[in-house]
Symmetry: C2
Subunit: 151 residues, 2 copies
DNA sequence: TATTGTTATACTCTATAACTATA
DNA sequence: TATAGTTATAGAGTATAACAATA
């Protein structure tokens, strides 16, 4: 099962590097995906990505500075900010999605068809079964939440 | 392929939590494994685990404080310290290895035999092929090196 | 001059607590 | 009283730079 770690590690490194080349991060992509055409507030987006609201502030600061998303005042709650993805944000998100899809396709394409299906089948079974839920953890390691991983 | 991340993430969380229950960390286990009966110096161990020598100092401080390993003066180089794993260290390492092996066995055991072999075969092919080498990365993410991952 | 291990320091990333302004 | 977002701050984790002792 060390194999599993190594494969995931190398794949994540490659995806993060390729996203960085076009000026995107896995977290930024995650937030933009949840925000586009959704009319969600910062707090809602933070919950969707399992990040603290203060981490969301930092993330939004970066996205706004990069011109990829904007904070708009909510018409119904003057405390809240609705996050809107800009046209530039949409375009970059589309490019990022293509980058990720291309890598996945390339990786899976390197396997013979039978093995490819076997891999996906086994992983699906694990996710739906034995590895479905993270175990309880008193002091969880300080790392990105799964939802923010490149995917 | 998001499946791959999720499976690795959940598995790593479980292993880290179970190691913590017995007072072990993935990094500590990695260093102890490389050190036991090997007569290696701190720098050699740091290189084997792909960590900075200053990170190794911190790691050894913890292992020594916990009574799991000791710094001995090298008989041939008065600058160097040979790391020796204590009896307590050996015992805890053995327990840790058993914890990890049990989890792996349990996870793989949750798959029907055909899928199990398919999974291992596909992962092996990826590691030896498309996902063999991490891509070059200007500013690599600040995270544990693969070698220190639980395995 | 180069290397081992150490210390001091800085940087990244993330979260907790306290605050402002609303609700 | 509670909530959205912000700021200030703290902590974990890791690395870089400078240093002392030794090669």
């Amino acid at each position: 099962m060390m194999l599993l770690h190594q494969a995931a590690y190398v794949l994540e490194t490659e995806l993060t590097a390729k996203l960085a080349e076009i000026g995107m991060t896995p977290r930024g992509r995650c937030v933009l995906s949840s925000a586009v055409d959704a009319g969600r507030t910062q707090t809602e987006l933070a919950e969707l990505s399992n990040m603290d609201k203060t981490t969301m502030v930092v993330t939004m600061d970066a996205l706004e500075k990069a011109g990829l998303a904007e904070r708009k005042l909510s018409p119904t709650d003057r405390r809240a900010r609705i996050i809107e993805v800009t046209e530039a944000g949409r375009e970059l998100l589309a490019r990022a999605d293509r980058v990720v899809a291309d890598v996945y396709e390339d990786v899976l394409g390197s396997l013979p068809e039978g093995e490819r299906e076997g891999l996906l089948g086994a992983l699906t079974r694990l996710i739906e079964g034995r590895l479905g839920e993270p175990v309880e953890c008193d002091r969880p390691p300080r790392r990105r939440a799964l939802r923010q991983a490149v995917g």
